[in-house]
């Protein structure tokens, strides 16, 4: 329950007009902070929603893959350069951002995660790493601005942000593949 309130507080904080304007004024903050934090607010609110609608998750996300798929669709949508421009210009898209990232990406991925086998989790990380690498390449090396509302330098910053994310994911995958993780989970199983 506590987590839910933290998540809700974060969500409402991000929705405050001055916070929104500040975060959206810089492209890197828009993409790598506002959108990320919206996702995090969804992650925090997930347990409460899972308890409220157990049947929904039991029936339609038994294997965990539908939730994963929904997460990827929403992420892919927000990676399109034009959706970021549109969220600044159309209030409907802005509203969709505040609904889709927490509730259609954050909540389902938290519900799906424990249901997935380790191999699927690793594949998921690799897919995410590849997507972010492609985005990084696109934003760093693009010769024209992809978002009309932001400057060229902003765009490059976002590209390096993606590069950082992709490298972090790669390091994490190597870590879980080549180190013994059991010790961290022993308490749970006993």
């Amino acid at each position: 329950m506590r987590q839910f309130y933290y998540g809700l507080a974060l969500f409402l904080f991000l929705a405050l007009p001055p916070v929104r304007h500040l975060l959206e004024s810089i492209m890197a903050m828009h993409m790598h902070m506002q959108m990320m934090l919206l996702l995090v607010s969804g992650l925090l609110m997930a347990p409460f929603i899972q308890k409220k609608f157990p049947a929904l998750f039991m029936n339609f996300n038994k294997s965990g893959y539908p939730g994963l798929l929904l997460f990827l669709v929403i992420i892919l949508y927000w990676l399109l350069p034009r959706t970021m421009d549109e969220s600044l210009e159309l209030w409907t898209v802005e509203l969709f951002k505040f609904i889709s990232l927490p509730f259609l990406a954050g909540v389902p991925i938290r519900d799906s995660w424990p249901k997935l086998r380790e191999a699927s989790q690793v594949v998921f990380f690799l897919v995410l790493g590849v997507i972010f690498s492609v985005m990084s390449y696109l934003y760093v090396f693009s010769e024209s601005t992809l978002c009309n509302n932001y400057l060229m330098t902003d765009q490059k910053t976002v590209g390096y942000g993606f590069m950082f994310l992709a490298i972090s994911i790669l390091i994490y995958v190597l870590l879980i593949l080549f180190t013994d993780q059991r010790q961290y989970f022993e308490k749970d199983s006993s």
Partner: protein, 207 residues
Amino acid sequence: MKKDIAAGIGIVVFGIILLFFTTNGFTAFTMEQQRVQDLQAQPPEFPDVEVVDQTGESYNFREFENKHVLMTFIYTSCAAACPEMSTNMKHVYELTEGKYFEDDLVFLSISFDTKRDTVEVLGRYAEYFNADAESWKMLRVPDDKELEKLLSVYGVTVIPEGDADYQHNTSFYILNPEGRLIEVLDYKDPETAAEILEKYLREQEEK
């Protein structure tokens, strides 16, 4: 498990529909691409705007009707894309046969930095590129509201960058004699731009 598969298929369909409508049928992944598509679809119009060229003579933008127009938007103190764009525009100018400039074609470089780009500044800038005021006009729009109108008709976004610079759309725009925007071309490829321009001019001649 069956419901999972159904949910999975539902999500994929939802995803495809979502992406299809956002990207205008997988054709416009950036706002810029969408902008160009929208501009080409909009009804032709020469906006009613007063402009002044590098010699100080003023015109109505409507007077360019019945000619093909190759147009760029610039500011003369620009150090990044504009000089390259103007140099390439000169290249297109040289590649195009002179006879077309008599009645069928005019080149316009329109400044959106009205404050600094006075008639004298534009005159000096025109000299660098050997732009005579007849076939290649460097224009300023004295009235701020009218400038805004002109920029919005052609969907040009200008964002101030730092204290003295702007970031703006850099392309060659070609208008046909009715005022319809027929091409938005890469300014880095003057050869192709000249070829396409020539194609339209020849078609016009045959009519």
